[in-house]
């Protein structure tokens, strides 16, 4: 089943899920669980909560696959956006309970084998990480704080003690530069 599933494009996988195909949902889980769980865990720092949220995410995928519109963006974007949103919702719902990084998520190492994962995704991941490394540190930091901690520009400015205008510029320049770098590397 796994071999067949990996031949299907992301868009077709979502279409099948929208038709109520449970095998397609399982295929989507097998293809994306590592990335989505990694993302959720990086936001929540708690394995049990992250597993709960991962379940919520796939239930939402199951219920809302029919709303995915491939003309509005990539399936990958749709999936990670759901995961990030649910994780940030959970983060905010838990109030100000201190969350300490427990060291279980490290900086991604290229040596991690992505056995069940689509080869293209791991290539894309490596490209993105290389591109991020090329950004000026302040831009990279701004993007990562916004993405993984769910902070607004004002909150980031307050946290870093920098002017709001500076943060706005870094966020914009950082995201645009990242897009440029990735566009170039895709050719």
């Amino acid at each position: 089943m796994q071999a067949e599933a990996s031949q299907i494009s992301d868009n077709d996988l979502l279409k099948a899920i929208a038709r109520g195909d449970e095998t397609a949902l399982a295929g989507c889980y097998d293809r994306y669980r590592l990335i989505l769980f990694g993302l959720i865990l990086r936001i929540l720092h708690d394995r049990h909560e992250a597993e709960d949220v991962l379940q919520e995410v796939f239930l939402q995928v199951w219920r809302r696959a029919k709303d995915f519109d491939e003309s509005r963006g990539r399936a990958f974007t749709w999936l990670v956006t759901i995961a990030r949103s649910r994780a940030l919702d959970r983060l905010r719902a838990s109030g100000s309970r201190a969350r300490l990084a427990d060291g279980i998520e490290q900086e991604p190492r290229e040596s991690i084998g992505y056995a069940a994962q689509d080869a293209l995704k791991s290539e894309e991941g490596a490209m993105v990480r290389r591109a991020l490394a090329e950004l000026p540190e302040e831009q990279r930091r701004t993007l990562l704080m916004a993405y993984f901690e769910g902070l607004t520009q004002t909150e980031i400015a307050a946290r870093l003690g920098d002017p709001l205008g500076t943060v706005k510029t870094r966020m914009r320049s950082g995201l645009m530069k990242l897009r440029e770098l990735l566009r170039d590397s895709r050719g």
Partner: protein, 272 residues
């Protein structure tokens, strides 16, 4: 007044969901009228999505896949009435007759394999252990062994059911170390509540369960006390109004219970 350049400069923050609320409102209105900005936003959202690759891929527990698929199948079954398994009707007699008891025993035996799988989950393990302890502790307290068996089968069936809804209750300032889990079946309303870490009440008091549907006053549930190790297992019936989005709470009340909450809240589920 914002210029078009101002709006464009906010698109990155909007894509990242990091835009301040006042700016969001203004940009949102602009986007309704500007195709150029909508296209730019779409591209920036794709770039934003790629930031997920900055997190190290991680493997979730093996049970997650099965739980998702079980829940999805249960939803499919619920939505296609012709295929729904014949669930027991909610009748006035709370406990199953001997025939259904025998069926329940067979059902539990069949689930042995599932229990093995679920044991891998540490939380589930702790709850199963607690259930065993509770059942042992209550051996001497039950009036009839048939009652006890019925409660055991029901509790185990609920805990192993992929269909059961779980609500976590957290300790309040009156009992910060307490926690509880309520599991119930939406079809039948049958529920089991497991509590942990509740201090023993004085002789003239007991704990009472409350169901608080949105915007309504608390509905009284069972009155109970904890055993010598601070645990309780309570078989409950969910009122229909409380099955969706209600808060569940536990307070201390006079030992025969109260029609409305009077004592300190010891446990409560989060408001949805």
């Amino acid at each position: 007044m914002m210029t078009h350049t101002d709006y464009q400069e906010l698109l990155a923050a909007y894509a990242l969901d990091a835009i301040d609320p006042a700016d969001r409102q203004a940009l949102s209105e602009h986007l309704a009228d500007c195709v150029q900005c909508r296209d730019e936003l779409s591209a920036l959202r794709d770039t934003t999505g790629l930031l997920s690759h900055a997190a190290a891929p991680q493997e979730p527990g093996e049970h997650v896949r099965a739980q998702i698929l079980a829940q999805v199948r249960a939803e499919t079954r619920r939505e296609t009435p012709a295929q729904v398994v014949n669930m027991p009707q909610r009748t006035r007699t709370a406990w199953p007759n001997m025939l259904r008891l025998a069926a329940a025993i067979a059902f539990i035996a069949l689930l042995a394999g599932v229990i093995v799988l679920w044991r891998r989950d540490a939380r589930m393990q702790a709850e199963m252990a607690q259930l065993s302890r509770q059942l042992d502790a209550q051996q001497g307290e039950m009036k009839s062994s048939r009652d006890l068996m019925a409660r055991q089968q029901e509790a185990l069936a609920l805990m192993n059911s992929a269909v059961a809804t779980r609500i976590q209750l957290n300790g309040m300032p009156a009992a910060p170390n307490a926690r509880a889990t309520l599991m119930f079946d939406k079809q039948t309303g049958r529920a089991v509540l497991l509590t942990d870490g509740l201090p023993a009440t004085s002789a003239d008091k007991a704990y009472e369960v409350w169901f608080i549907p949105k915007g309504r006053s608390p509905m009284p549930g069972k009155v109970f006390t904890v055993d010598s190790s601070g645990h309780a297992m309570i078989m409950e019936r969910m009122p229909p109004e409380a099955m969706d989005g209600a808060v569940i709470a536990i307070t201390v009340e006079p030992k025969n219970g109260s029609a409305a909450p009077t004592g300190a809240i010891h446990l409560a589920s989060p408001a949805s």
